[in-house]
């Protein structure tokens, strides 16, 4: 079909242009991502001297972080790592469960065709708004809202007082405030709330686009058969949404392990991150960012551990939520093929 000119053009190799077009990406990728990753591994096998690269120490940094030691300083490294890991898990679980419950229910309600809700577009826009606001500003804002001075209870406590949750002593004019910044679980609760507040809109929109991708004839068939909305949700929406749920879970988990801005900034005492909020990302950051005495070895080793945790979690989540019907179907096909080939052999390969 092709004309002579087109054929001639096809015979010219354009491969070098392909390389030329992707070259900038890979140069930058090598220098700013791949090499830093390798460098992190290298650092993790070296000492904790001031200039970053000290003598080779093998697995000592990993040993110190994972198992501790008799030395008091090393014990600290070990204990602080596990505290930060526990904090990360607590903060992540505490924001993911309400977030997914809220987003999933909202996504289902928003996509339910026979409900008459005015201003869906407006609600969506407002609920996504917290996600685009600078996290650093959000942290400082909530610090102001939740904070309290000696004689003033702070905005949030005042609000709770108006509702009647926080009581005010009539004689001394003092409020029985909730310690939103210094309290262990109170401060964690605030950070969980901020994370949920910032991310539920994003998750909701992603789940909504997933639900809208489900074949509408399924919902129609269900409603003709007289299924209740609960049944539709359990039997149709949830199973068909599982790939996107897996995606949400994995991205949220990886994001949760990276949690930095808000735990790092949410504390009253200048330059001292609250120990109840210190996440793994903050732990690593404090080691390599220390201006006086950076400990690159520990930072590197902790980063590598974080890397593998991320990897394992990602694999588990994908394994748990993989499409089981699809796999069963593939197995069946394979079985059928085997059977036919066996039958073929029986009859001397005439099949």
């Amino acid at each position: 079909m092709a004309s002579a000119a087109q054929r001639r053009i096809k015979s010219i190799s354009y491969a070098k242009y392909g390389y030329l077009f992707i070259l900038p990406f890979f140069i930058v990728y090598f220098f700013f991502q791949l090499w830093p990753l390798i460098n992190t591994f290298i650092l993790s096998f070296h000492g904790n001297g001031k200039d970053g690269l000290d003598a080779f120490v093998g697995l000592d940094n990993y040993k110190a972080i994972l198992f501790g030691g008799s030395n008091r300083a090393i014990k600290m490294v070990h204990e602080r790592f596990f505290t930060s890991l526990a904090n990360t898990v607590i903060l992540w679980v505490g924001n993911f469960i309400p977030q997914i419950a809220l987003s999933l229910s909202l996504a289902v309600w928003f996509t339910e065709a026979n409900l008459k809700i005015p201003g869906k577009g407006f609600f969506k826009i407002v609920m996504y708004l917290p996600n685009i606001i600078t996290a650093a500003s959000v942290a400082v804002l909530f610090l102001q809202l939740c904070g309290e001075a000696e004689n003033t209870p702070g905005a949030l406590n005042q609000l709770l007082n108006k509702i009647g949750v926080v009581s005010k002593d009539a004689a001394s004019e003092k409020y029985d405030t909730i310690k939103f910044i210094t309290g262990v679980w109170q401060s964690r609760g605030v950070v969980m709330f901020i994370q949920t507040w910032m991310w539920f809109g994003n998750t909701m929109i992603m789940l909504m686009s997933g639900i809208q991708g489900i074949n509408p004839s399924l919902f129609e068939a269900a409603s003709i058969d007289g299924a209740t909305s609960g049944q539709v949700f359990r039997k149709i929406t949830l199973p068909l949404l599982s790939p996107i749920m897996a995606y949400t879970l994995v991205t949220s988990m990886i994001g949760g392990l990276q949690m930095f801005d808000i735990p790092y900034l949410y504390h009253k005492d200048p330059n001292k991150v609250s120990n109840d909020l210190k996440t793994v990302a903050v732990y690593i950051y404090e080691y390599f960012h220390d201006q006086v005495d950076p400990k690159m070895g520990y930072a590197g080793a902790a980063s590598v551990i974080l890397f593998f945790i991320t990897l394992i979690l990602g694999c588990i989540a994908f394994y748990l939520t993989r499409d089981k019907d699809e796999i069963a179907k593939k197995k069946q096909i394979k079985k059928n093929q085997q059977q036919t080939s066996m039958v073929g052999k029986q009859f001397g390969g005439r099949f």
């Binding site: 354009y14 591994f41 970053g52 409900l115 600078t134």
Partner: protein
């Protein structure tokens, strides 16, 4: 749905009634959520217009008349404008964000184009590498990144904040998927026959055709870069005040003990989120559509 009703007769009355009741309850629930979403921001704006003592005394939902005084404190008082200078912050953030956004979309489009249009030996491998990279979190590589930048003496410069924008795997992935669905290769051949050079084809044919994808990704790259606190905070270490980005200045408020005027603090925070909120209000429809698109991609 309405068609169905006409085929199967009118639904029972209690069915319609229960639907109506559910709609009302849900609308109320959505309004409550809207209030929760907006309340912190509303209090922020209200408090930015109130005086220090008024804020300390109680919460209010009506704006006060202290805005001009707070502005004066924030901009004129030496204790305040040496910690938080909104103009320097805007300028630096805009410089870094602007250049890196252009880099991200341009080079991602270029990489996606290279992989999509040409056939070469390493094509599939390079695409797989890009997909794998997508999953590696920044926090994992940052220790090695900072150590490397220290060695190159690039800390306290903007290079480590701008140049990495060229390699944005997620954006490449998005652009490639977009090209697969809406960039026929015949166009490239037609351009070749007309004597158009390869690079020229990319610039004057591919880029205009990819405008929708580029616009969506540019918005997200802009927001991500503008809000980035982690990277600037670790690269601009010994930093002079003049170099700081806006999120760094906001975080400095929290660390400073000179910031004692609540009104000025709230005003500073409000100014720091103002540009991004304006951008959002203008582009919200695109942004919501873009997020939805991102959800389908997996």
């Amino acid at each position: 749905m309405s068609k169905m009703k006409s085929v199967y007769g009118e639904p029972k009355d209690n069915y319609t009634a229960s639907l109506k009741r559910k709609s009302v309850i849900l609308t109320i629930w959505f309004i409550i959520l809207t209030i929760i979403c907006l309340l912190p921001i509303y209090i922020l704006i209200v408090n930015a217009t109130r005086s220090n003592s008024a804020i300390a005394n109680g919460i209010s939902f009506i704006p006060g008349g202290h805005l001009s005084k707070n502005i004066k404190t924030l901009f004129k008082d030496i204790n305040y404008n040496t910690v938080f200078n909104v103009w320097i912050g805007y300028k630096n953030s805009l410089l870094i964000t602007g250049i890196s956004t252009v880099f991200t979309v341009f080079f991602s489009a270029m990489t996606a184009y290279g992989i999509h249009v040409y056939d070469f030996k390493l094509k599939e491998i390079s695409y797989t590498v890009i997909l794998l990279v997508m999953m590696v979190p920044m926090q994992v590589t940052s220790a090695g990144f900072v150590a490397f930048m220290l060695k190159l003496h690039l800390t306290d410069t903007y290079w480590p904040l701008i140049l990495p924008a060229i390699a944005a795997p997620a954006v490449v992935y998005f652009m490639r998927s977009y090209m697969k669905s809406s960039f026929p290769l015949d166009i490239v051949e037609a351009a070749r026959i007309d004597g158009c050079s390869e690079f020229r084809t990319f610039i004057s044919i591919a880029i205009p055709m990819m405008k929708p994808a580029i616009a969506v990704q540019a918005i997200f790259a802009f927001i991500a870069s503008w809000n980035n606190f982690y990277t600037p905070n670790m690269i601009l270490v010994s930093s002079k005040f003049k170099q700081k980005t806006l999120p760094m200045m906001v975080s400095a408020i929290q660390a400073s003990d000179k910031f004692t005027d609540y009104g000025a603090i709230y005003l500073a925070i409000a100014l720091s989120i103002l540009p991004i909120v304006i951008v959002y209000v203008i582009l919200s429809k695109f942004i919501i559509a873009g997020v939805a698109l991102g959800g389908v991609k997996e």
